[in-house]
């Protein structure tokens, strides 16, 4: 009995240490997602802020460490290679303070994302068939045909159900005006969805009381929905399709996600070397002989999928796969050649693409984009590099981006030289003010404002669409940094859409 009394006393003392959020200072020049003023959260964040304020810093740090250990043991890590033999494994930073999106706000986002992806899909179908949008000069033909992601092998080919982008990741930011803007479309192999599900699981285990305060839509249906979507695009004459995921292998940075999705869908995770093509049908090599494969969710880039057709040195692909695909005997998701539509130069035309095919106004805003290959826009860009973000059109992962305000005079000159040498390769956008969100910073042991964005996940099958409720909120952990990609020191947050 004596011991129990002591325990309660300690607990009481800890409970007095409250106010984790009291030291939070608003980011002045940015849109703060959570607070209107100091210590005054927006109504939909109120219950969550109260919950965090009831935790002491030591409780919070303990929970934070438990979550980190759990991620580590689950193998949600990436390897950093140094000179030593053993790679250093690190977890992707996860911030426990969730991002919350109101139902009203989400409803608009969801409509806008579906509208955008339907239009993009029609656009792909058009440019690989009749090319009407090019003939009508809504999108310049040379922009499309000069893109290395335009695949002539896809010309005239119709994928099952007319679906090219079965899985797409649309990235959005919130500007200082409180409006969402589309940052980019990812139409090849967008990744990150496994973190959405893992983050939710981690938050539920560690701060379960939050879920009593607010009701969030669940995210667990995603793998089931993905499998359903993949089954809708099975080839003709197939009754129950064999669906597989193709991964480049376990040394790929997204291998965790590939194996995670395969496990959750209950389908085989295969590598190129597990497959072969015979008489235009694809088979996987099993312990009891070959089994025909009907639908492939491939997480290998276009140029590596078939060494007979694309890069001859590819060890990741399956020789003859494109022939099997073009014969209609196997479905690839996403279709090859979708990269032509997520090119950052084509991004500029997406609002026009929406109007052209759907005769509707775009629901979501684009960020204004300057094309360096357009002479007048090129001139503006060269004169205003210090105020713009310059991006290569064909890079992903945040590589090659120059943010004007951070550049020295010499660096500005270097960017100018790069643009002049290959104007087609670059676009520029005004520096958008990414919204900020309270994020726990381990060095200062305080919550500080950090920039965030949102990657949403949209699935499209034959006559069906599905959007994951929420998405992946990525957070730039370095103070002032605008680049949220995990390869550039970014972390993530659980993202709630309220019921």
């Amino acid at each position: 009995m004596q011991q129990k009394a002591v325990y309660y006393k300690t607990f009481d003392m800890e409970m007095q240490a409250t106010g984790l959020m009291n030291t939070y200072k608003l980011g002045n020049s940015h849109y703060d997602e959570v607070f209107k003023r100091i210590n005054e959260p927006k109504s939909h964040y109120q219950p969550i802020v109260e919950c965090f304020n009831q935790l002491s810093i030591s409780d919070f740090e303990r929970i934070n460490n438990e979550v980190k250990t759990a991620f580590f043991n689950q193998g949600i890590t990436f390897a950093v290679y140094s000179d030593e033999k053993k790679p250093d494994e690190r977890i992707f930073p996860f911030d426990l303070f969730p991002r919350i999106i109101s139902n009203e706000e989400w409803t608009k986002l969801e409509k806008g994302i579906i509208q955008r992806n339907i239009a993009i899909n029609l656009f792909l179908d058009d440019i690989y068939h009749k090319k009407m949008i090019l003939k009508d000069k809504v999108v310049p033909a040379e922009l499309i045909f000069s893109s290395k992601n335009y695949l002539k092998e896809m010309d005239g080919f119709s994928p099952v159900g007319g679906i090219y982008t079965h899985i797409s990741g649309t990235d959005l930011i919130k500007h200082i005006d409180g409006e969402y803007y589309i940052l980019e479309d990812n139409l090849r192999c967008p990744s990150g969805v496994s973190y959405v599900l893992s983050n939710r699981m981690a938050l539920k285990k560690s701060l379960f009381d939050l879920f009593n305060k607010l009701k969030s839509k669940n995210v667990y249906q995603y793998p089931e929905q993905l499998l359903e979507v993949l089954k809708t695009v099975k080839p003709k004459n197939v009754d129950v399709p064999t669906v597989v995921i193709v991964t480049p292998g376990m040394y790929n940075s997204a291998y965790f996600e590939h194996s995670f999705l395969a496990l959750k869908m209950g389908i085989p995770l295969v590598e190129g070397r597990d497959l072969y093509v015979e008489k235009d049908f694809v088979y996987m090599k099993t312990i009891h002989g070959p089994i025909k494969v009907d639908v492939i969710y491939r997480r290998v880039d276009d140029e590596f999928i078939d060494p007979l057709c694309f890069r001859k040195d590819s060890m990741l692909g399956v020789p003859g796969l494109m022939n099997a695909y073009r014969a209609g005997n196997v479905t690839l998701a996403n279709a090859p050649g979708t990269g032509v539509a997520d090119d950052k130069a084509v991004y500029h035309y997406v609002p026009s693409i929406i109007k052209y095919y759907l005769h509707e106004e775009p629901i979501l805003n684009n960020v204004h984009t300057y094309h360096c290959e357009d002479p007048s826009e090129n001139k503006y860009v060269l004169e205003n590099i210090d105020k713009l973000v310059v991006k290569p059109v064909d890079e992903s992962g945040g590589y090659g981006i120059s943010i004007g305000t951070t550049l020295s005079k010499e660096e500005i000159e270097e960017v100018k030289v790069k643009i002049k040498s290959n104007p087609r390769k670059y676009i520029a956008q005004p520096i958008m003010s990414l919204s900020v969100h309270p994020t726990f910073i381990e060095e200062t042991k305080e919550f500080e404002p950090r920039h965030i964005d949102l990657r949403t996940f949209c699935l499209m099958g034959k006559n069906t669409e599905y959007i994951l409720k929420g998405g992946l909120t990525r957070v730039a952990l370095r103070r002032g940094n605008l680049i949220v990609n995990s390869s550039q020191g970014g972390g993530s947050k659980d993202t709630w859409v309220l019921e």
Partner: protein, 312 residues
Amino acid sequence: MLSRVANNLYWMGRYIERADHLARYSKASYFSSLDAPILKTFDRNFVLESILYMAGIFDMEQINEKDVLYKIGLDAQNSNSIISNITSARENARGARNAISTDLWEAINKYYHLVTNYPQETYLTTGFYDFTQMVSDQTSIVTSKIFGTLLHDGEYAIILIGMHIERAIQIIRIINSKLHDIYKIEQAGHTVTELSFEWTNLLKCVESFDMNRKFYRNIPNREQVLEFLIVNPNCPRSISFSLRGLKRYEKNISRNENHDINTISYKINKLCGQYDYLSFDEFKDDIYGLLNNTQAKVLEISEDFEMKYLSF
């Protein structure tokens, strides 16, 4: 099941089993040697040599206690060390990540991190018992996850085939290694009581001391230890038990019902049949012959198995 995935699962099973035997053998041998009667005639290198022999390490010119412990435990450059075995087990599990349960994967991954992050200085000074015991404990967790969180179908069978093949091979190695030691001790003129200490040690090296005492109700002696570890069908650490396990799980994945001569099933059944009716009197005069012959047959079966199911 993909052949590549089967290959991963098979080797995962083998590496897990191998690390466990190496850790237990080293622990049991090392700690029993601290106050062993044989110290009258042999120095401490005797047991270190025994551990190296069992681990298949023959390239050490000078034997030094810390070097030996490091080499079998945490030396990532030595492919036979515990750390290398666990790293390989985990790599194979990662390659078959979607074919195993999340529980099993996390158990293996945690095991890997515990081994690879074990402080080297602690290991070499005060942590050798703790480390080897941790390996045994983690093996128990992993095997319980294999048993309790996988569907008992093809994947499960492949892992268990790997584990039983490895167990048969390791037990043969261990018996061989200890027989080698005991021969040297006998030659040095030790008494029967002192030899019984070594027979007890052999049982402890395969975690069978308690079972043996319960079965024979006697102080361990040559006949009862060898009979127990070679032909007792109910001792989970015997050769006979390992072969029966191999037979059971191979049957689960084999679709070859007619046991033609030279098929894997035929070879396994024939070897098991031999063990089913083997008595100590039949092999007591040529134990090395029996062990070597069995090892050759198990290796042949494993090669056939890899060829038939795991090549891709």
